[in-house]
Structure formats: C-alpha cells, structure tokens
Amino acid sequence: MSVVVKTIARILLPVILVFGGYVILHGHLTPGGGFQGGAVAASAVALLLVAFGPGSVKKLKAPFSILEDLGGVAFVLLGFLGIGTTFFFNLLAGSGGLFGAAAPIGPNPGVLNTGGTVPLMNWAVGFKVLGGLGAVMVLFGLFGGDDDR
C-alpha cells in the first residue's frame, strides 16, 4: 500500500490495541467485554495485514494459535476454580485479593477492582478471540503465496 496508508497505520495501530485492551479490562463495568475487545484488537491485525502485506504478519501465526489455546484453557480453569461449590462459582468476588473488592451498593461510577473471576474470564475470552480471529486473518493473507502487491 501507499506511504499515506502505512504512516496512518503506524499511528493508529497502538491506539487500536490500547482501545481493545480497555474494552476487555472494563468488560464488567461498561458495554463490551472479552469478545468485543478481542475483535477490536484483531482489527489491528487486519490493519497490519492490509497496510504492510502478508509478509509482515507471517511470524504471528504460531503465537496466535498458542494464544487461542491458552485463552480457552484459562477460561475452563477459571470455571473449575469454584468447583468446591458449583462450576463457575465466583470464588474471588469480595475476597479482597485480585479484582476482589466489595462492589458498592447504589449509583456509583464503577469500581475497576471488583467482579472476582469475571474480569479474568473476560481477559481469557479476549485473548481467545484475538488469537482466533488473528490466526484466521494471517492464514487468509498467506493463502496462495505472500506476494506484496
């Protein structure tokens, strides 16, 4: 692609990735969550692929596959974390540890450090969606040789 497209892509790429991370991190407070944030982050891969050609993302194929596997395994393991009570029992909510603060009652702007296992599951789903969609994009770009036209 042209110099204009490449320059704009260089500027926008970190912004898109940070916004995807923001949507995942605030999944339990604001609209969005794991899938939406992962899709937004995967659109950064799409931008990379369209602007710089398939050769630029060739090395990302194996990491994306591993990321997808890790996301799925992490989600199931977080589900099994509360197996002492029930499957998917929110063991970490209100425990005082990571994401364990007590959620305030009544109208409030939202406390990030709440939710228990829900934000961690959002991260697992986000990495799984980023890995899956990213791997699909990379494989599609590499299909039939990686000529940079």
Partner: protein, 83 residues
C-alpha cells in the same frame, strides 16, 4: 425524542443506500468500501437503539474484519467485475 426518531430513519435510509451501492457498483473495491460504510452506519443504528454492546461488536467485526478480508480477497483475485 422526535429528533432521535428522525435520525434513526435517516440512518436506516443511508444503510439501505450503502447496501444498494455495494451491489450496484462494478468496481469491487468501491463496492467493499460501500459495504463497510453500511456496516459502520448499522453500528451507529445499534448505538441509537440503546445497544452499545452490539454496536462495538458490529464495528469491530462488520466494519473492520470483513472489510480487510474482502480487500485481501480482491488483492489476490481481480478488481473489476466481469459482465
């Protein structure tokens, strides 16, 4: 309230216009860009209908990822539609 209703109808008409343009255009790259515009307006419509969750998913998947896949497919085949 009425301004919001008028805006929703205008956005709907623009979505239909973008979709018709995507089918009608012979240059496939322009067609894909029209489809991306229709997708983005659909995301705006979801937001206007109080569904920001769906709007983010539609903007991410519909406007960004499918457009990139179509552009890659055009790059690997040909740009003009045959009669």
């Amino acid at each position: 309230m009425t301004i919001l209703a008028i805006l929703q109808v205008v956005v709907l008409i623009l979505i239909v216009a973008g979709s018709v343009l995507a089918v009608w255009l012979k240059d496939l790259l322009a067609s894909v860009i029209a489809l991306a515009g229709a997708s983005l307006l659909l995301a705006l419509q979801f937001y206007l209908l109080q569904a920001p969750d769906v709007a983010i998913a539609e903007a991410g998947v519909g406007a960004a990822l499918t457009t990139a896949i179509f552009v890659l497919a055009i790059r690997k085949t040909q740009r003009k539609e045959e009669e």
